[in-house]
């Protein structure tokens, strides 16, 4: 959350996150360079530059796999939410590691070519009609290009400039990048690799990423269908029992049209806001009240429950909703108020409800 442009809003968590990441990359590359030669096919010469290219290439693949696992894991289990906090730095580092891999490859294969190395990279292999020998390099180039675009636009400046929905849609290109990377590895390294370890790792990673996304998607669908209350004739939706809203937590209610509303409890009071964070559209209802503010579980953006406004000096606003009680039931007005509209909370003591 920032009110002026800063390249990176560093804090202790981000520094720690990045240091752990960097240490992990250095350790992986070191171990790979020490261990991989013992698994290598000794019928072919082993070159240091190619070994380093493989080290950084496999590292980038594993990093991208982990990045794509973080989102669904955080949806399925809250304990993974801290990994989500600084995922953009993870992505930028992955792009850097992939770039080092590409540099080694270009330096090794095309440095002594009479043509420009980058022209040679794109034009040397045109065997598009067969699997063995297919120009797999193009998939790698496409993936790296996407990762570069995502890294460059990862800053909050671009998020605000493009608006969260457009930015999120743009950054969904990472899925295309992953598909390109899998094909790059399958048509490239796996074609010549005689050791089964790499194939097993790539297959397991692909299945894990796809499986986790499918599982998280099913859970989202179930959340949309399972808790939908009935709409009364007067247009109010039966959101649930007031007693079901835990202190400092939210009851997330799907409303007709597909969006969700988060009804938070702050002591004896209940208030309702949009479930969509203004920053990256994070699920506010999975966060909690901290200092009286709804706090997004993804990046900690905060909004007052009473009016949906971020506390000063911040300026983000989200929509609020009117609530009323009918006995033990909480009723929700389906018409959202404009973002930042104050709404009187309703009194609904948990014990009495």
């Amino acid at each position: 959350m920032s009110v002026k442009y800063t390249p990176v809003g560093w804090n202790r968590n981000k520094v720690l996150y990045d240091l752990v990441l960097l240490a992990a990359v250095v350790a992986y590359v070191y171990v790979f360079l020490r261990v991989a030669p013992s698994f290598a096919d000794l019928t072919r010469p082993l070159d240091g530059a190619m070994l380093r290219a493989q080290a950084f290439g496999t590292c980038a693949f594993l990093m991208l796999t982990l990045i794509l696992c973080i989102g669904p894991l955080a949806r399925l289990d809250r304990r993974f939410l801290p990994l989500l906090y600084n995922r953009r730095h993870f992505g930028v580092m992955t792009c850097a590691v992939a770039f080092v891999h590409a540099s080694y490859v270009v330096g090794w294969y095309f440095s002594f070519s009479p043509t420009d190395p980058y022209v040679a990279l794109l034009s040397a292999n045109t065997s598009f009609g067969r699997v063995a020998g297919f120009p797999f390099e193009l998939f790698g180039v496409a993936a790296l290009a996407i990762l570069l675009v995502l890294a460059v636009t990862s800053h909050d400046f671009w998020l605000a400039f493009l608006t969260p929905p457009v930015w999120k849609a743009l950054h969904m290109l990472v899925y295309a990048a992953y598909a390109a990377v899998v094909l790059h590895v399958a048509l490239g390294a796996l074609q010549s690799e005689t050791n089964a370890v790499l194939a097993a790792v790539v297959a397991a990673a692909t299945v894990a990423v796809c499986g986790l996304h499918l599982a998280a998607g099913r859970r989202e669908s179930a959340a949309d269908l399972g808790r939908a209350g009935g709409v009364r004739e007067d247009g109010w939706l039966v959101a649930g029992r007031a007693a079901d809203v835990a202190e400092g937590r939210a009851l997330v209610v799907p409303v007709p049209g597909g969006e969700r509303v988060a009804i938070f409890r702050d002591g004896e009071r209940l208030g309702a806001v949009s479930n969509v964070c203004a920053h990256q559209n994070g699920p506010l209802g999975e966060g909690r009240l901290i200092d009286g503010c709804v706090t997004c579980p993804w990046h900690g953006f905060q909004y007052r429950l009473a009016d949906g406004c971020a506390p000063p000096p911040y300026t983000e606003k989200i929509a609020t909703y009117r609530l009323k009680l009918d006995g033990a039931l909480v009723l929700l007005d389906l018409r959202p108020n404009p973002p930042g509209t104050p709404v009187d909370p309703i009194l609904a003591p948990r014990e009495a409800a």
Binding site: L42, T43, P45, V131, A132, P165, K168, A169, M172, Y175, A179, V182, L183, A186, L187, L190, Q191, T194, A199, V202, A203, T206, V207, C210, G211, H213, L214, G217, E220, S221, G257, G258, E259, V276, N281, G282, P283
Partner: protein, 54 residues
């Protein structure tokens, strides 16, 4: 997350969950493997030495 993005996520991963493993399996299935009867070649041994029968 907004509904259109949730829907897009679900559709994209439904397609990728079928296509990616299938493509990977297909490529692995038809890749050319080294024959098991291939004689081992020791690095650093010249072609002349190999052919000389020594």
């Amino acid at each position: 997350m907004q509904r259109p993005l949730r829907t897009a996520h679900a559709r994209i991963w439904t397609v990728l969950a079928v296509l990616l493993p299938a493509a990977l399996l297909a490529v692995l299935a038809i890749r050319q493997t080294v024959p098991e009867s291939r004689p081992a070649v020791q690095l650093g041994v010249g072609a002349a030495d190999e052919g000389s029968g020594r």
